[in-house]
Amino acid sequence: MLSKVFATIAVVITGGLLLYGVYDFPSFGDPNSPPNAGVEGGGESVSQYFITNTYKDTKVPNMVTAVLADYRGYDTMFETVVVFAAGVAIFCIMRVVGNANDPRKKEEEESVHSFTYGDHNRIIIGTTCRVIIPVIQLFGLYVIAHGHYSPGGGFQGGVLLGSSFILLALSSDLNSALKRFSEYNYFKLAAVGILIYAGFGLASQFLGENFLDYGVLQPLLFTDGPEMARSHSMLGVEIGVAFTVMAIMFSIYANLASHGTLKDGL
């Protein structure tokens, strides 16, 4: 009870600070705000700069992807870290490891035997999911790889890939999904995703430029110019984001659905 009071106070304070921060923003659609009109005496506005220069700088037609993964790539990297931290937090709160006296564990162990798989007929759901899960995964890969040209990218494709595993866990049971994508593997994959992102940043730093300044990766990626190097690095970065998002999506589902025991689940 007391912990709930403290949690409520913490949430209210955090929310208040966030709302206080929003006051500094210009009002919606304000033509005189810095993004629309530019800083006083500072030349063209930010929006105008992106509209004019995105294709010239990066050869990426989808401006949103270019801004997200290149111009503000540092921010996006830590967004991915936030996703990873959310997964680790859920793991720390929910996961039941080894403690035999935990009441939740005993309860779950009893329920394993009461759950019978042939209880109701799941042949229709099982068959359909077996057919459409590969299609969903293929579409997820398409969304990741096509993020430069159409709406999409790492976050969206990662969510699609993660939801395909969640669908597998829902249609059969959690154990058969964990057999294909175990706890060890999904946390490894989540960390590898962030490593890929940070690796692109470090590689450009080693070649003598700023962190995440992809243009200098041109000799490593065998491209025609720094613009194409930026374009290709963005794809690599998106793949890293997709790894993390996919793994963390599934980890959150697995922990929440089974009360942290990773047994039979819903």
């Binding site: 109701h120 007929n121 799941r122 229709i124 759901i125 359909t128 999911c129 057919v131 459409i132 299609v135």
Partner: protein
């Protein structure tokens, strides 16, 4: 012109079925009949509307070498409709299955013959 009319017929029929599904969800008496209205109506009407969109795309089609991107759009729309054809009935089935597991009771008039007792002893 004729393509537009055909696609309008498809989309209009789809919207009529959508309306039927919406009315069915509100007016039917119990969980199973409502789910049945939603599943059947939504599936058919989505298929009809998306097929209507696909036919409408044919409007500007003159030669394959110039207008092939239109075929790409049609292919994507047909892919969406096939996806709905598979998933929507399955989702309805899963919903009804969950309702049956939770012992949602079908509404049957007094004295009408039914097979509930033979199939399951949960009621």
């Amino acid at each position: 012109m004729i393509i537009s009319i055909i696609s309008a017929i498809f989309i209009g029929t789809g919207i009529i079925f959508f309306a039927g599904a919406a009315i069915g969800i509100i007016r039917f008496p119990d969980f199973y009949t409502r789910t049945h209205a939603a599943g059947k109506g939504d599936t058919l009407s989505s298929l009809l509307v998306i097929t209507g969109f696909a036919i409408y795309q044919l409007n500007g089609f003159e030669s394959f070498s110039e207008n092939w991107p239109i075929l790409l759009v049609i292919l994507k729309l047909l892919g969406v409709s096939i996806f709905i054809l598979f998933t929507s009935p399955t989702a309805t089935h899963a919903l009804m299955d969950a309702g049956w597991e939770e012992c949602s009771k079908p509404k049957i008039k007094e004295g009408r013959p039914n097979h509930l007792g033979e199939d399951s002893d949960q009621f």
